[in-house]
């Protein structure tokens, strides 16, 4: 290293920490804004598709620990990336859930259309993505008589206990 290069290196060593502090603070603020925006997006995604599986998909994001503390730039980046991954997982879980509900609705239509072909099949409001706690079940009319005669129908429960 030449003398000029050495002086420039020393100057950089002296200057950079002083310059780095405010720049890093601004960078951390920028990242915090991103984290806040992503967190809000995640909250809305969870609210729109509220279920244990979507909530489980949101948990365990990278960059999280047990103690609240001031995070440095690298840690904030990890939190942001972890949030992005969580958001992806929640959206996937929500899409899977929506598909399952769509299939359940089609099954319910089929149960009404042909009860005898769906003997004993049971669906709940949760399966259909509906509020409350009703159940739809294909059961024989008049118990054993209906079972022997092949008389089947969809019975709807009276709701929450």
């Amino acid at each position: 290293m030449t003398a000029i290069e050495e002086r420039a290196h020393r100057a950089a060593e002296l200057l950079l920490p002083a310059l780095d502090t405010p720049e890093t603070l601004a960078a951390r603020r920028g990242l915090r804004e991103q984290v806040t925006a992503l967190h809000e997006e995640l909250r809305q995604a969870l609210q729109a598709s509220w279920a244990p599986e979507t909530l489980a998909a949101a948990g365990g994001a990278a960059g999280t620990g047990d103690v609240a503390r001031l995070l440095d730039l690298g840690e904030l980046e990890t939190v942001r990336d972890g949030l992005l991954a969580s958001l992806g997982r929640v959206r996937e879980a929500a899409a899977r859930r929506a598909e399952a509900q769509e299939r359940a609705r089609a099954l319910l239509d089929a149960m009404y259309a042909d009860p005898a072909a769906h003997r004993g099949v049971r669906l709940t409001t949760d399966d259909l993505g509906l509020p409350g706690c009703c159940r739809w079940q294909v059961r024989p009319v008049l118990g054993v008589v209906g079972r022997l005669a092949g008389w089947w129908r969809v019975r709807v429960s009276s709701g929450c206990p």
Binding site: H39, T64, R69, V79
Partner: protein, 218 residues
């Protein structure tokens, strides 16, 4: 400077680094003497709240939590996972969806639960015999331990803590160490709450004031 009167809500000092990093953060504190009838009043208050508290709706709106959503964003900023409540009180309180009731334990627990249900502010209560004011919010320095727990595990540098002149007494989000937390036998209580960006300052200071009044029975 005169010492604050009992029940008076006081703003604690916030370290400039914390403000620079996290924005408009405040610490509100108050002291209260637990009134003899606080047990029955707490039970009665929680019973009344259980009848009107729409916990399932709140949990759905707030990503599985009972706190104001601004606190969840704050937890994310300070490296916590908001899907896991940092306090045992909130973890247990979510059971209200199953049990249908906010279950009372003792006055200091009940007052925290009432404030959580009413306004969604995380209130902390310390035993007044174990800590003395003024209190501040600051980052822990390397090697620092909870006050009165000289042999305990060292806090990580930069941990956000509520501290008294002797050292850290509680985390900014989470349960204080058992030796400092208020319990069934606490008679002198220290109430504190951290206000985070997105929550109105008056909302938090009023929550602390209201809790102090609940405890002192005034």
């Amino acid at each position: 400077m005169t010492a604050p009167r009992e029940g008076e809500v006081v703003a604690g000092t916030v370290d400039p680094t914390v403000r620079a990093e996290l924005g408009e953060i405040e610490l509100w504190t108050a002291t209260a003497t637990v009134a003899p009838g606080a047990d029955a009043a707490g039970r009665e208050r929680l019973g009344r709240l259980s009848g009107t508290f729409r916990a399932a709706d709140r949990i759905r709106e707030r990503a599985g939590r009972l706190l104001d959503p601004a606190y969840l964003a704050f937890e994310r900023q300070v490296g916590l996972d908001p899907t896991q409540p940092p306090t045992a009180l909130e973890r247990d309180a979510r059971e209200v969806v199953v049990t249908g009731a906010l279950l009372p334990e003792h006055p200091c627990h009940d007052v925290r639960l009432a404030v959580l249900a009413e306004v969604g502010v995380p209130l902390g209560v310390l035993d007044g015999r174990r800590t003395r004011g003024p209190w501040s919010l600051r980052p822990a320095v390397a090697g620092e331990r909870w006050a009165h727990e000289g042999r305990g595990e060292a806090l990580p540098a930069g941990a956000l803590v509520v501290a008294d002149p002797d050292g850290p007494v509680a985390p900014a989000a989470g349960d204080p160490p058992a030796a400092l937390a208020a319990g069934r036998r606490t008679r002198e209580a220290v109430l504190y709450a951290v206000r985070v960006p997105g929550v109105a300052s008056w909302e938090v200071s009023e929550a602390v004031w209201r809790a102090a009044r609940y405890l002192s029975g005034t």
